[in-house]
Symmetry: C2
Subunit: 134 residues, 2 copies
Protein backbone atom coordinates (compact mmCIF):
# COMPACT_ATOMS: atom_id res chain seq x y z
CA UNK A 1 0.00 0.00 0.00
CA UNK A 2 1.41 3.42 -0.98
CA UNK A 3 1.96 5.96 1.77
CA UNK A 4 -0.80 8.30 0.58
CA UNK A 5 -3.26 5.44 0.18
CA UNK A 6 -2.40 4.14 3.64
CA UNK A 7 -3.15 7.56 5.09
CA UNK A 8 -6.54 7.66 3.37
CA UNK A 9 -7.21 4.12 4.52
CA UNK A 10 -6.43 5.07 8.13
CA UNK A 11 -8.74 8.10 7.84
CA UNK A 12 -11.45 5.83 6.52
CA UNK A 13 -11.00 3.39 9.42
CA UNK A 14 -11.11 6.29 11.89
CA UNK A 15 -14.38 7.51 10.43
CA UNK A 16 -15.76 3.98 10.49
CA UNK A 17 -14.99 3.62 14.18
CA UNK A 18 -16.39 7.11 14.76
CA UNK A 19 -19.68 5.84 13.33
CA UNK A 20 -19.62 2.68 15.40
CA UNK A 21 -19.06 4.68 18.58
CA UNK A 22 -22.32 6.57 17.95
CA UNK A 23 -24.51 3.49 17.46
CA UNK A 24 -22.50 0.83 19.19
CA UNK A 25 -23.29 -2.72 20.19
CA UNK A 26 -20.66 -2.69 22.96
CA UNK A 27 -20.50 -0.69 26.23
CA UNK A 28 -20.33 2.47 24.08
CA UNK A 29 -24.10 2.24 23.69
CA UNK A 30 -24.43 3.48 27.28
CA UNK A 31 -25.18 7.15 26.71
CA UNK A 32 -24.71 9.58 29.53
CA UNK A 33 -25.43 13.13 30.48
CA UNK A 34 -27.96 14.01 27.82
CA UNK A 35 -31.25 15.63 28.71
CA UNK A 36 -34.22 13.58 27.49
CA UNK A 37 -37.59 15.29 27.07
CA UNK A 38 -40.37 12.77 26.46
CA UNK A 39 -43.92 14.02 25.92
CA UNK A 40 -47.07 11.90 25.52
CA UNK A 41 -50.22 13.33 23.97
CA UNK A 42 -53.84 12.21 24.36
CA UNK A 43 -56.14 13.60 21.66
CA UNK A 44 -59.51 15.26 22.24
CA UNK A 45 -60.76 13.06 19.39
CA UNK A 46 -58.82 9.83 19.88
CA UNK A 47 -60.48 8.23 16.85
CA UNK A 48 -59.56 11.02 14.44
CA UNK A 49 -56.74 10.08 12.06
CA UNK A 50 -56.87 13.61 10.64
CA UNK A 51 -56.20 15.10 14.09
CA UNK A 52 -53.40 12.61 14.71
CA UNK A 53 -51.77 13.49 11.38
CA UNK A 54 -52.03 17.21 12.17
CA UNK A 55 -50.36 16.62 15.52
CA UNK A 56 -47.58 14.48 14.02
CA UNK A 57 -46.99 17.11 11.35
CA UNK A 58 -46.74 19.77 14.03
CA UNK A 59 -44.33 17.66 16.07
CA UNK A 60 -42.04 17.21 13.05
CA UNK A 61 -41.52 20.99 12.86
CA UNK A 62 -39.69 20.81 16.22
CA UNK A 63 -36.72 19.15 14.48
CA UNK A 64 -35.77 22.57 13.13
CA UNK A 65 -34.94 23.94 16.59
CA UNK A 66 -31.15 24.04 16.76
CA UNK A 67 -30.80 22.77 20.35
CA UNK A 68 -32.86 19.64 19.53
CA UNK A 69 -30.06 17.12 18.94
CA UNK A 70 -32.28 14.16 18.10
CA UNK A 71 -36.02 13.74 17.68
CA UNK A 72 -38.20 10.64 17.58
CA UNK A 73 -41.91 10.95 16.81
CA UNK A 74 -44.08 7.89 17.33
CA UNK A 75 -47.34 6.18 18.23
CA UNK A 76 -48.08 3.26 20.58
CA UNK A 77 -46.16 0.15 19.50
CA UNK A 78 -47.85 -3.18 19.04
CA UNK A 79 -46.07 -4.83 21.96
CA UNK A 80 -47.69 -7.28 24.36
CA UNK A 81 -50.53 -5.79 26.41
CA UNK A 82 -49.51 -5.80 30.07
CA UNK A 83 -50.92 -3.94 33.07
CA UNK A 84 -47.73 -1.88 33.39
CA UNK A 85 -47.78 -0.74 29.75
CA UNK A 86 -49.47 2.62 29.16
CA UNK A 87 -50.70 2.57 25.58
CA UNK A 88 -53.72 4.88 25.71
CA UNK A 89 -51.81 7.92 24.39
CA UNK A 90 -52.02 8.95 20.73
CA UNK A 91 -48.55 10.33 20.00
CA UNK A 92 -45.09 10.50 21.53
CA UNK A 93 -42.39 13.13 21.11
CA UNK A 94 -38.90 12.21 22.32
CA UNK A 95 -36.26 14.91 22.17
CA UNK A 96 -32.59 14.92 23.13
CA UNK A 97 -30.78 18.01 24.33
CA UNK A 98 -27.16 18.50 25.34
CA UNK A 99 -28.15 20.17 28.60
CA UNK A 100 -30.78 22.07 30.61
CA UNK A 101 -30.05 25.27 28.69
CA UNK A 102 -30.81 23.53 25.39
CA UNK A 103 -34.20 22.45 26.70
CA UNK A 104 -34.96 25.96 27.95
CA UNK A 105 -34.08 27.42 24.53
CA UNK A 106 -36.49 24.90 23.00
CA UNK A 107 -39.31 25.78 25.42
CA UNK A 108 -39.10 29.47 24.52
CA UNK A 109 -38.34 28.98 20.80
CA UNK A 110 -40.79 30.54 18.28
CA UNK A 111 -41.09 27.19 16.44
CA UNK A 112 -42.18 25.48 19.68
CA UNK A 113 -44.55 28.29 20.60
CA UNK A 114 -45.99 28.14 17.08
CA UNK A 115 -46.51 24.38 17.43
CA UNK A 116 -48.45 24.93 20.69
CA UNK A 117 -50.51 27.71 19.07
CA UNK A 118 -51.37 25.55 16.04
CA UNK A 119 -51.87 22.18 17.73
CA UNK A 120 -52.88 22.58 21.38
CA UNK A 121 -56.57 22.53 20.43
CA UNK A 122 -56.02 18.92 19.30
CA UNK A 123 -54.98 17.46 22.64
CA UNK A 124 -56.86 16.72 25.82
CA UNK A 125 -53.90 15.77 28.01
CA UNK A 126 -50.12 15.96 27.93
CA UNK A 127 -47.66 14.19 30.21
CA UNK A 128 -44.01 15.25 30.19
CA UNK A 129 -40.99 13.39 31.55
CA UNK A 130 -37.65 15.21 31.72
CA UNK A 131 -34.76 12.84 32.35
CA UNK A 132 -31.11 13.65 33.07
CA UNK A 133 -28.71 10.89 32.08
CA UNK A 134 -26.56 9.41 34.84
Amino acid sequence: MKKQNRKSFISTIAFTFGGIALHATAPEKMNNKQLIHHVFFWLKNPGSNADLEKLLEGLRTLAKIETVKNIYIGVPADTQKRSVVESSYAASELLFFDDLAGQKTYQDHPIHLNFIKNCSHLWDKVVVYDVMGV
Copy 2:
Protein backbone atom coordinates in the same frame (compact mmCIF):
# COMPACT_ATOMS: atom_id res chain seq x y z
CA MET B 1 -5.41 13.46 -7.49
CA LYS B 2 -4.56 9.90 -8.55
CA LYS B 3 -7.44 7.53 -9.28
CA GLN B 4 -6.77 5.29 -6.25
CA ASN B 5 -6.44 8.26 -3.93
CA ARG B 6 -9.64 9.75 -5.26
CA LYS B 7 -11.44 6.50 -4.49
CA SER B 8 -10.12 6.51 -0.92
CA PHE B 9 -11.05 10.16 -0.58
CA ILE B 10 -14.60 9.42 -1.74
CA SER B 11 -14.81 6.51 0.75
CA THR B 12 -13.69 8.84 3.50
CA ILE B 13 -16.32 11.42 2.57
CA ALA B 14 -18.97 8.68 2.50
CA PHE B 15 -18.02 7.57 6.00
CA THR B 16 -17.99 11.16 7.17
CA PHE B 17 -21.52 11.69 5.94
CA GLY B 18 -22.46 8.31 7.44
CA GLY B 19 -21.37 9.66 10.81
CA ILE B 20 -23.23 12.93 10.36
CA ALA B 21 -26.43 11.08 9.45
CA LEU B 22 -26.38 9.34 12.84
CA HIS B 23 -26.18 12.50 14.96
CA ALA B 24 -27.23 15.21 12.58
CA THR B 25 -28.23 18.80 13.05
CA ALA B 26 -30.25 18.88 9.81
CA PRO B 27 -33.49 17.03 8.89
CA GLU B 28 -31.48 13.80 9.25
CA LYS B 29 -32.01 14.04 12.99
CA MET B 30 -35.58 12.86 12.39
CA ASN B 31 -35.27 9.19 13.32
CA ASN B 32 -37.91 6.78 12.13
CA LYS B 33 -39.08 3.25 12.57
CA GLN B 34 -37.23 2.37 15.74
CA LEU B 35 -39.02 0.82 18.69
CA ILE B 36 -38.62 2.87 21.84
CA HIS B 37 -39.16 1.23 25.22
CA HIS B 38 -39.31 3.79 28.04
CA VAL B 39 -39.77 2.59 31.63
CA PHE B 40 -40.20 4.76 34.72
CA PHE B 41 -39.60 3.35 38.22
CA TRP B 42 -40.94 4.53 41.56
CA LEU B 43 -38.99 3.16 44.54
CA LYS B 44 -40.50 1.57 47.65
CA ASN B 45 -38.06 3.76 49.60
CA PRO B 46 -37.94 6.94 47.55
CA GLY B 47 -35.48 8.55 49.94
CA SER B 48 -32.94 5.73 49.77
CA ASN B 49 -29.87 6.59 47.69
CA ALA B 50 -28.60 3.05 48.25
CA ASP B 51 -31.75 1.58 46.68
CA LEU B 52 -31.54 4.04 43.78
CA GLU B 53 -27.91 3.10 43.14
CA LYS B 54 -28.80 -0.62 43.22
CA LEU B 55 -31.56 -0.02 40.68
CA LEU B 56 -29.33 2.07 38.39
CA GLU B 57 -26.63 -0.60 38.59
CA GLY B 58 -29.17 -3.26 37.65
CA LEU B 59 -30.45 -1.15 34.74
CA ARG B 60 -26.92 -0.78 33.37
CA THR B 61 -26.65 -4.57 32.95
CA LEU B 62 -29.39 -4.36 30.28
CA ALA B 63 -26.87 -2.78 27.88
CA LYS B 64 -25.36 -6.23 27.38
CA ILE B 65 -28.48 -7.57 25.64
CA GLU B 66 -27.62 -7.73 21.96
CA THR B 67 -30.95 -6.44 20.63
CA VAL B 68 -30.68 -3.28 22.79
CA LYS B 69 -29.32 -0.81 20.23
CA ASN B 70 -29.07 2.17 22.56
CA ILE B 71 -29.68 2.65 26.26
CA TYR B 72 -30.13 5.77 28.35
CA ILE B 73 -30.40 5.51 32.14
CA GLY B 74 -31.46 8.60 34.05
CA VAL B 75 -33.16 10.40 36.91
CA PRO B 76 -35.58 13.36 36.94
CA ALA B 77 -33.98 16.41 35.35
CA ASP B 78 -33.95 19.76 37.07
CA THR B 79 -36.24 21.42 34.55
CA GLN B 80 -38.95 23.93 35.42
CA LYS B 81 -41.73 22.52 37.63
CA ARG B 82 -44.95 22.55 35.62
CA SER B 83 -48.26 20.74 36.18
CA VAL B 84 -47.73 18.63 33.05
CA VAL B 85 -44.27 17.46 34.11
CA GLU B 86 -44.22 14.12 35.94
CA SER B 87 -41.11 14.15 38.10
CA SER B 88 -42.08 11.88 41.00
CA TYR B 89 -40.35 8.80 39.54
CA ALA B 90 -36.90 7.73 40.77
CA ALA B 91 -35.28 6.28 37.65
CA SER B 92 -35.81 6.07 33.90
CA GLU B 93 -34.70 3.39 31.45
CA LEU B 94 -34.90 4.28 27.76
CA LEU B 95 -34.07 1.53 25.29
CA PHE B 96 -33.99 1.49 21.48
CA PHE B 97 -34.70 -1.63 19.46
CA ASP B 98 -34.69 -2.18 15.70
CA ASP B 99 -38.13 -3.78 15.78
CA LEU B 100 -40.81 -5.62 17.79
CA ALA B 101 -38.81 -8.86 17.65
CA GLY B 102 -35.81 -7.14 19.26
CA GLN B 103 -37.98 -5.99 22.13
CA LYS B 104 -39.44 -9.49 22.60
CA THR B 105 -35.93 -10.98 22.70
CA TYR B 106 -35.08 -8.44 25.40
CA GLN B 107 -38.19 -9.24 27.46
CA ASP B 108 -37.32 -12.95 27.56
CA HIS B 109 -33.54 -12.52 27.82
CA PRO B 110 -31.80 -14.07 30.89
CA ILE B 111 -30.06 -10.73 31.65
CA HIS B 112 -33.46 -8.97 31.77
CA LEU B 113 -35.03 -11.73 33.86
CA ASN B 114 -32.04 -11.59 36.20
CA PHE B 115 -32.46 -7.82 36.54
CA ILE B 116 -36.12 -8.32 37.54
CA LYS B 117 -35.17 -11.06 40.01
CA ASN B 118 -32.46 -8.92 41.63
CA CYS B 119 -34.17 -5.53 41.60
CA SER B 120 -37.97 -5.87 41.58
CA HIS B 121 -38.05 -5.77 45.39
CA LEU B 122 -36.77 -2.19 45.12
CA TRP B 123 -39.66 -0.71 43.18
CA ASP B 124 -43.22 0.10 44.13
CA LYS B 125 -44.52 1.02 40.67
CA VAL B 126 -43.42 0.77 37.06
CA VAL B 127 -44.91 2.53 34.04
CA VAL B 128 -43.90 1.41 30.55
CA TYR B 129 -44.37 3.24 27.25
CA ASP B 130 -43.64 1.37 24.01
CA VAL B 131 -43.43 3.70 21.02
CA MET B 132 -43.13 2.84 17.34
CA GLY B 133 -41.50 5.54 15.26
CA VAL B 134 -43.52 7.04 12.42
